[in-house]
């Protein structure tokens, strides 16, 4: 399998207030590199302030890295070229209730990325929206509804539809499963796994629920204070955690893998 997304020596630091002769900065990410293949899932776990959300923002293009390069299919992703990036890397957020525009219907919501990024005419766009909604387990007629008419689990499906409508290659799930109720969460996990097989997606899963991480991911990366302290195959890391941070995380969730 060829490497889909290749991240090389990314760092991120923020300038803090200080004098001109006494510049201070805060390092959010120390140099880190990783690579993902298609149909694979990389999980990122860590405490708050460990830099996992910063990493997600950099990958999706909301922030630009201080140094380092990101390659997609061997092609360099430039920092300011969002058009190139947003077609291939999409993101789903934690709280789907607040990330959907309440004044737009679902059709208008899903139309936006299509108008901006594709050359399809109106009829083709409508057809595509219909099939995408069916793909995530909703009905085509749902496109005339407003977000408030849906329940929490359905809203999360609409976020997913918005993410996959441009046929991306990488989807970043930033705690996307944390706010869902357990019975809806397992539905969502099943749906995500099906889509991964159908469309050959690569997922980057940011989560602190180790049960989901074990079930869902192939590789795991444990972060602490902007550094990767442990990484490898999920099963191997969980069977035999080496670093203190990993051990503490597993202890706190009473998680034991035989």
């Amino acid at each position: 399998m060829s490497v889909l997304l290749d991240v090389k020596e990314i760092t991120k630091s923020f300038k803090l207030k200080g004098h001109w002769y006494h510049k201070r900065k805060f390092t959010a990410l120390s140099p880190l590199s990783f690579a993902i293949e298609a149909k694979k899932t990389l999980a990122i776990v860590g405490e708050t302030g460990s830099g996992k959300s910063t990493l997600a923002k950099i990958l999706v293009g909301a922030e630009s890295p201080t140094t380092g390069k990101i390659y997609l299919n061997g092609q360099l992703l430039q920092n300011q070229r969002f058009k190139q990036r947003c077609q291939h890397i999409r993101m789903i957020f934690q709280d789907s209730g607040t990330t959907l525009n309440p004044s737009l219907t679902i059709q208008e919501l899903l139309d936006e990325p299509l108008i901006l990024n594709t050359e399809l005419n109106e009829k083709q766009r409508q057809q595509l929206i219909r099939t995408t909604l069916q793909k995530v387990g909703l009905l085509g007629d749902h496109m005339n509804f407003y977000p408030h008419m849906f329940s929490g689990g359905q809203k999360q499906r609409i976020s997913l539809a918005r993410a996959i409508i441009l046929q991306p290659q990488v989807i970043i799930l930033d705690e996307a499963l944390a706010a869902l109720d357990p019975s809806l969460r397992s539905q969502m996990i099943n749906l995500l796994l099906d889509l991964q097989q159908q469309m050959g997606l690569a997922y980057i899963l940011i989560s602190h629920n180790l049960g989901i991480v074990r079930h869902f991911s192939d590789d795991v990366m444990v972060m602490s204070h902007g550094e990767v302290v442990e990484s490898g195959k999920t099963i191997e890391v969980m069977r035999n955690p080496q670093h203190k941070v990993t051990q503490k995380l597993m202890m706190s969730q009473n998680f034991q893998l035989k």
């Binding site: 405490e47 329940s151 019975s183 049960g211 989901i212 079930h215 869902f216 099963i235 706190s252």
Partner: protein, 344 residues
């Protein structure tokens, strides 16, 4: 003796389209020194139930119950003032999002000392101030905050969420309650802090023999800590029993689905395999199904499920289902027969 004994509690809501039965005949009992978990997904009425116990529901809500006793006293017969005096002495509650429950403009120390009743202080009026301060420090030590002077002199936004929740628990403990109701105390908290708060609650339960009602939407987080669990779905009682009974031998199809869909309980499953799940989504309050509210989603639903099932008791394991899941079919008949006899 049962501390809290609730039988067939119903809560109705006045809406423009008539009354809606939000909580339908739920029973709950808490013994002294019990650590009970109350599990339900969003919209299951678990927070409503807690608010009904505390008595903070407004006029829109109507509470009826066959029995609503607190240590033998019928709460529904008391006037509001009597009830308030009784409950504020015996029951304390902590909420989710501690940051938003604490007053952001007041120091932690002041908020804590406010909660300490002056009847707990002995001595002359000039000694009171010092005693109050000592009591505050003692409370902070009780919930495991060692840097008390730093904590007393800070505002809520200067502290982390876990410390804030500890302060909330300290405020709740100030009245020396017998029952502590914790309504999702660890929602939106990261796992290491979550563990700390649960451990603190478990310690209070073990060392001080305090009864705790822990409300959560996630079954898998609770099982390590609680001794008994009650499960609710969409305002109806589903199942109650000890943690082992609920987790290892669930009898209700809904509990079974919850356990099966948990990624933590099914570590033997191969990765990326499909999880067991219930079809459909949680019904909203305006469109509740009749009878057993799980009916449309239930894999074992039959025609009789349009009537609400009665609660049957299997050796302390209560389940509300027409077709409970029992492994041995031979046993099923004998047990059912006994139950029928018992109810007559």
């Amino acid at each position: 003796m049962n501390l809290l004994d609730i039988r067939n509690l119903s809560i109705e809501l006045d809406t423009p389209n008539g009354r809606v039965l939000a909580v339908d005949k739920v029973s709950l009992s808490i013994k002294e020194g019990e650590f009970r978990g109350l599990v339900g997904e969003s919209g299951s009425g678990k927070s409503l139930l807690a608010q009904a116990i505390i008595g903070v529901l407004n006029d829109k809500w109507h509470v009826h119950a066959d029995r609503f006793h607190w240590r033998g006293i019928d709460l529904l017969r008391l006037t509001i003032d009597e009830r308030r005096a009784l409950l504020c002495r015996d029951i304390a509650m902590i909420f989710q999002e501690p940051m938003s429950c604490l007053d952001p403009t007041t120091l932690i120390g002041e908020q804590l000392s406010e909660a300490i009743d002056s009847s707990q202080l002995s001595g002359h009026f000039w000694q009171r101030k010092k005693q109050r301060k000592e009591a505050v420090v003692k409370l902070l030590h009780k919930v495991g905050i060692k840097k008390h002077s730093q904590c007393i002199n800070s505002y809520p936004h200067q502290l982390t969420e876990a410390i804030c929740q500890r302060v909330m628990i300290a405020i709740a403990l100030a009245g020396r309650p017998i029952l502590l109701i914790a309504d999702e105390p660890t929602a939106a908290m990261e796992s290491t802090n979550q563990g700390q708060i649960f451990r603190l609650l478990a310690n209070l339960n073990q060392l001080k023999n305090m009864s705790i009602l822990l409300i959560s939407h996630d079954l898998e987080n609770l099982t390590h800590w609680t001794s008994t669990i009650t499960v609710m779905y969409s305002g109806q009682f589903v199942e109650a029993g000890s943690t082992e009974q609920i987790f290892n031998k669930p009898m209700h199809p809904y509990t079974r689905a919850l356990v099966d869909s948990s990624t933590k309980a099914n570590l033997q499953l191969p990765t990326k395999s499909r999880l067991m799940t219930l079809p459909g989504s949680i019904p909203i309050l305006q469109h509740l199904p009749i009878g057993c509210r799980l009916g449309p989603r239930c894999p074992r639903a039959q025609q009789t499920c349009v009537e609400a099932p009665k609660v049957s008791n299997f050796h302390g394991h209560k389940v509300s289902c027409h077709f409970p899941l029992i492994r041995e079919t031979a046993k099923k008949h004998s047990v059912k027969h006994e139950v029928v006899k018992g109810t007559i």
